[in-house]
C-alpha cells in the first residue's frame, strides 16, 4: 500500500489547527481538566485516601473518554460531508488511508495536549509524597492508548453520517458498550446462560478491565494489543466506509 507521509502530515496539520480555530478546543480542555480533577477529588477521595498516587484520577478516564472522545471525533468526517468539502478533499491526488490516518492523528495529538495539561496533578502528588512514577507513566500511556481506541471508533462512525450529533451519540453508545462489557452488571447477565469462553471474551474486550491492568503499573501486552488493534481495526473500517461511499 503506497503511502505519502507528506499528505498525512498536511492533513494532520490542518486538522490539528482546526481544533483551535473554534472555541471547541478551549471548552474541551477546560471540561476535561475540571471533570478529571473534580471526579478524582470528590468522587475518588484523592485526599482522604492519604496515599500519594494517581489511582483515583485515572480510574475515571474510561468514563470521561466515552463522552469526550466522541466529541473530538464527531466532526472529523461528518462535517466534511455536510459542508461538501469531502468532495474537494477526495478529488485531490490523495489516498483515502492517508486522510484517515492524518485526521485520526490530529485528534489523538489534541488528546495528548489534554493529558499533558493534567500532569499538574502528578506534580502535586510529587510535592505531597512520593508516588510510584513507574505506575504514573504506565497509566498515562494506558490512558493515551485507550483514548486513541475511543477516538478511532468515533472517527469511523463519523465517516458514516453527515450529522455530527448522530455521529456523537452512536460513538458514545459503542464506547459505552466497550466500557460496560467488563462490569459485573454485564458479566453477571451473561454468566447465567452464555458459555464460559464467551464471558471471558466479552470481559477481555472490556476497556475498563484492560485499562485497570495498565494502571497497576505494568505495560501488559494483552492490554496494549487490545487498544492498538482496536485503533487499527477502526481506522481500517473508516477507510472502507470512505471508499464504499463512492458507490452510493
Amino acid at each position: 500500500m503506497k503511502t505519502s507521509f507528506r499528505t498525512i502530515g498536511l492533513v494532520f496539520g490542518r486538522e490539528f489547527r482546526a481544533y483551535f480555530a473554534t472555541p471547541l478546543a478551549a471548552v474541551f480542555l477546560l471540561v476535561f481538566l475540571a471533570l478529571s480533577a473534580g471526579l478524582a477529588f470528590f468522587a475518588g477521595g484523592f485526599f482522604e485516601r492519604g496515599q500519594a498516587d494517581l489511582g483515583p484520577f485515572f480510574a475515571w478516564h474510561p468514563w470521561l473518554f466515552l463522552i469526550l472522545m466522541p466529541a473530538i471525533g464527531m466532526r472529523l468526517w461528518a462535517d466534511e460531508r455536510r459542508s461538501g468539502v469531502i468532495e474537494l478533499l477526495m478529488t485531490l491526488p490523495v489516498r483515502a488511508h492517508e486522510v484517515v490516518i492524518g485526521k485520526f492523528l490530529a485528534g489523538w495529538a489534541f488528546t495528548a495536549v489534554a493529558l499533558v495539561l493534567t500532569m499538574s496533578f502528578w506534580l502535586v502528588t510529587l510535592y505531597l509524597g512520593s508516588p510510584d512514577n513507574g505506575i504514573v507513566i504506565a497509566s498515562y500511556i494506558g490512558s493515551f492508548l485507550m483514548a486513541g481506541a475511543f477516538l478511532a471508533i468515533s472517527a469511523c462512525i463519523s465517516a458514516m453520517t453527515k450529522n455530527q450529533v448522530i455521529a456523537f451519540i452512536l460513538a458514545a453508545i459503542v464506547s459505552f458498550l466497550l466500557v460496560m462489557s467488563g462490569t459485573n452488571l454485564v458479566l453477571a447477565a451473561l454468566r447465567g446462560w452464555a458459555p464460559a469462553f464467551l464471558v471471558d471474551l466479552v470481559q477481555s474486550l472490556s476497556f475498563i478491565t484492560n485499562f485497570d491492568r495498565l494502571t497497576r503499573g505494568v505495560l501488559e501486552a494483552p492490554a496494549v494489543i487490545l487498544f492498538v488493534s482496536t485503533i487499527v481495526l477502526a481506522l481500517w473500517i473508516n477507510v472502507q466506509v470512505i471508499d464504499a461511499k463512492k458507490a452510493v
Binding site: 492533513v11 468532495e87 474537494l88 485531490l92
Partner: protein
C-alpha cells in the same frame, strides 16, 4: 488525445437513474458548456468524471488516465470546483489555497508563484487573510476557482462557477475562463445560457440523464432555424429539454 473521455456512464440512486449512458469527449482548447434542467444529472456526471462517485457502468479518464484504475494520476491533471464551492470555512483564503497546493504536491517555491498569480488573476487581494466563512458568496466562488487552478491543471471541471456572482463578477469569471482556455480542456455546468454563447466552444445538453444534444452553439441554433428565423439558445434549450423534463 482527448483530455476528457467518458463513455456510457450510468449511475442509479436507489430507484432513480440519475445518469443513463452519458458519453463525452473534450479535447485541448475546448470549453464545453454542460447544460440541462435541474436534476438532469449534470452534477452526478461531473462527480463521476472526477472520480468522486463510482459509476454503475461506463468509464471515465482524464488525460489518458482512468479515474478509477489510476485515480492519483488522473486527479493530478484535474482541477475541480464542486457544486457550491465548498471550502474549509475556518481557514483564511491564503492558508486554504496553500493547503490545497501542498496537497497537490507543489513545492514551496512553485506554490509561492502560483499563489501570487491566483491573487492577481482571480482578484483575491482584498480577502487574502480573511477566514473563508466571513466571505461573500462571490468571493467564496472565486476561492473555489483559485483552488481548482492552483496547480495549473490540463483539465478543469467547474460545477456552476458563476452561480451567485453579480453581473460584474460573472463578466470577470468569463474573461478568466476565456484567458486560460487555450491550453486546457474545460467542462462548465451552468443554467445561464448567455454564458454558454459567450465562452463555450461546444454545448452538451442533457435531460433525464441522457445526452440530447452535442454541438457548437451556432450549429445548435442553425439546426433550429424555422422560417429563416434563428431562435435564441433559450428557445432551443426549452424545446429540447422541456417535454422530457416536464
Amino acid at each position: 488525445m482527448q483530455l476528457v473521455q467518458a463513455s456510457g456512464l450510468v449511475k442509479t440512486f436507489s430507484r432513480l437513474r440519475a445518469v443513463d449512458g452519458v458519453s463525452l469527449e473534450v479535447s485541448r482548447g475546448e470549453v464545453v458548456g454542460f447544460l440541462g434542467p435541474n436534476g438532469a444529472g449534470k452534477s452526478t456526471t461531473m462527480k463521476m468524471l472526477t472520480g468522486f462517485l463510482e459509476p454503475d457502468a461506463g468509464t471515465a479518464s482524464i488525460a489518458g488516465h482512468d479515474v478509477f484504475a489510476d485515480p492519483i494520476a488522473a486527479r493530478r491533471r484535474l482541477g475541480y470546483l464542486p457544486e457550491g464551492a465548498p471550502a474549509y470555512g475556518d481557514m483564511t483564503v491564503a492558508d486554504f489555497l496553500a493547503f490545497v497546493g501542498r496537497m497537490r504536491g507543489l513545492t514551496n517555491a512553485v506554490l509561492g508563484e502560483r499563489l501570487a498569480e491566483m491573487v492577481e488573476r482571480v482578484n483575491l487581494t482584498a480577502v487574502w487573510n480573511r477566514p473563508i466563512d466571513a466571505l461573500s458568496k462571490g468571493f467564496k466562488r472565486r476561492v473555489g476557482i483559485a483552488q481548482a487552478l492552483i496547480h495549473d491543471p490540463e483539465v478543469l471541471i467547474l460545477d456552476e462557477p458563476t452561480d451567485g456572482l453579480d453581473p460584474n463578477q460573472k463578466h470577470d469569471m468569463r474573461e478568466l475562463i476565456a484567458a486560460i482556455a487555450p491550453g486546457k480542456a474545460i467542462v462548465i455546468s451552468t443554467h445561464i445560457l448567455e454564458e454558454v454563447e459567450a465562452i463555450c466552444s461546444r454545448v452538451v445538453i442533457i435531460a433525464e440523464g441522457r445526452v440530447v444534444a452535442d454541438a457548437t452553439p451556432s450549429a445548435l441554433l442553425d439546426a433550429a432555424i424555422v422560417d429563416g428565423q434563428r431562435p435564441t439558445l433559450e428557445t432551443v434549450f426549452r424545446s429540447i429539454t422541456g417535454s422530457k423534463a416536464a
